[in-house]
Symmetry: C2
Subunit: 352 residues, 2 copies
């Protein structure tokens, strides 16, 4: 009858936690009184509060958030979903989000998405844990978003906006940023360009790449080679090789869909091709991650205002937890162009 795997009773003598009843008994009051003392703004007399708090401290009482969540239907947890492939950028956001949320008394329950197909399993999980909302910083397909919407849980996308969809999102204006970069490069006299894009199913990459291409076309720059990368260092390096194969030579400027690939590209230029950056090749990225400022790279890039973006994501989600009726909203943030030394940003000096 009893299969032997683990008898729940044998091992579990986890030192019974102190409950509000214990405190009540110790203080000679009712359990409700204890509960009220821990709720700010409740109707409790000074005397009562003092007495209860004293007992609570003596017994080492901490309200049980699980029990509270059950009755209040609020877990004070928000799910944060990030895709596995850590591009240096997501972890940073994660920490920021956690910080911002915890200031508001909400904790992050972390979900990492290994394969995108796992989204359904993951969604079930998220729902089981009764989180109050979710912040999604991962690549998702349209049908996957449908799936989420069907669950009726407030959610906000981070850096993922679908033009044709009414969803909550905070985004950096990728298009604008790319246009700035292109403008400066063209002003400086660059005339041959190549692009290392991100994965084609990445909405961010599409926007960045399209933004750059569009502006390049407007400025009447000729053919632009586009090769695909995966946001990783190696693909930035290999991207430059592929560009050279396709073009038969190196272009004057390479626009990379993120900083890490730009760094890879830059390293390939210097170490594989032995050419000078920015004298012989300009490289620009996007994101403004920490290493972009390291002096070996000193990347010209567009920094995302992470602080303001995470703040926006947090307030958006919490507002919608309060009032699920709020209409979908998208908040766009301009990036900050950083004119680093990885690109020549003024017309070339006269030739030696």
């Amino acid at each position: 009858m009893t299969d032997k795997p683990t008898d729940p009773e044998t091992s579990s003598h986890p030192r019974r936690r102190v409950t509000s009843y214990d405190v009540a008994r110790h203080a000679g009051v009712s359990q409700s009184a204890v509960s009220r003392c821990f709720k700010p703004g409740a109707s409790v007399s000074k005397k009562m509060r003092a007495r209860v708090m004293k007992s609570a401290k003596e017994l080492g009482y901490q309200p049980n958030a699980i029990a509270r969540s059950l009755i209040t239907r609020r877990s004070n947890m928000v799910a944060v979903v990030i895709s596995q492939q850590t591009t240096l950028y997501y972890p940073e956001i994660l920490v920021e989000l956690s910080q911002r949320l915890s200031e508001r008394g909400v904790r992050v329950l972390l979900f990492t998405l290994e394969h995108e197909s796992d989204i359904d399993v993951l969604l079930d999980q998220v729902l089981q844990y009764q989180v109050d909302g979710m912040i999604i910083a991962a690549r998702l397909s349209g049908t996957q978003i449908d799936a989420i919407e069907g669950r009726g849980l407030p959610f906000v996308f981070y850096n993922r906006s679908f033009r044709d969809r009414q969803i909550n999102a905070v985004c950096c204006d990728q298009t604008e940023g790319e246009r700035w970069l292109v403008n400066r490069l063209v002003e400086a006299g660059h005339s041959s360009f190549a692009i290392i894009s991100g994965p084609e199913d990445s909405a961010v990459s599409v926007e960045r790449t399209q933004g750059a291409l569009e502006r390049l076309r407007e400025l009447d720059v000729g053919e632009v080679v586009v090769v695909e990368g995966d946001y990783g260092y190696a693909s930035g390096a290999s991207g430059l090789h592929r560009i050279r194969e396709r073009l038969g030579r190196l272009p004057e400027a390479v626009i990379c869909a993120n900083d890490v690939m730009a760094i890879g590209c830059l390293d390939a230029a210097r170490h594989d091709f032995g050419i000078e950056v920015p004298a012989q090749l300009s490289v620009v990225g996007f994101d403004g991650v920490g290493p972009a400022r390291w002096s070996s790279y000193d990347l010209t890039t567009v920094r995302q205002p992470v602080r303001r973006m995470t703040e926006a994501a947090v307030s958006m989600i919490l507002e919608r937890v309060e009032d699920p009726g709020l209409r979908p909203e998208k908040r766009f943030f301009s990036g900050i162009m950083i004119e680093g030394g990885s690109a020549r940003l003024s017309p070339p000096k006269e030739r030696a």
Copy 2:
């Protein structure tokens, strides 16, 4: 007579979540039956299970993990505490831990430690959320550890072991790694050394620094200058400047307590002092973070076996959740020495 605020069937309204009672009613069975169907290994007939599962699917039922946790006294959540200052290394660990834990059906509840003094507040929080255990990857003082031990919650330290304390910890053998590095550097003929340590209250830094110093002494290397850094890029760069001030010249090799400072140091050497690495200066780090392998740096370092370490941390904590009686255990892992190009590792060629 029975309350029916909103009919669950009519699609999305202030949708009351579907409960096991709803499923039970729909399937014409008892609530307990529904519960049992979701518990693997419970005593349920095939017919029953099929019927319940069908109803569950139709209603979109997901068990409420909060309610379950309340009764089972298991939240299936583990708190992961990381210090705010993200040294590139922690975020990576975080994602790994999350992955490993979720494979075992446990989620990560994230806590970031902004100021170390916040540890008490944080601990209260952790306890409130009834997590099953905690993994701590943050600098903590001895008394803070006492505070944690007092709470009676299983915990495992990540890369933080106190020699004189019986606590659970998984660590990379910092000392061994530093000794390897020193051995190789001395073998290659370096004779003047400097060290850029981490913050003095960082146990990891102390071990690394002491490990290196000890071996240097054993090998009879003369005076070694030690300057303190904060694990950040800038402090690596400034560290080299401070070393030069103290020494009046540059040493032959600089041992940095982590990769990021090594990178900062290396950049300072090249760009501030205009000297060749490794020809004129050898720089070594520790950790084996991603950027260490970028070809501009190609750091000589000791890589921590993150995968195995996180796996160990996860199984350790989960074992202790099952059986809180287990004795404290420390698991040490050897690092992997990576012989990159940032240090000269063979005797110098004859002088030009």
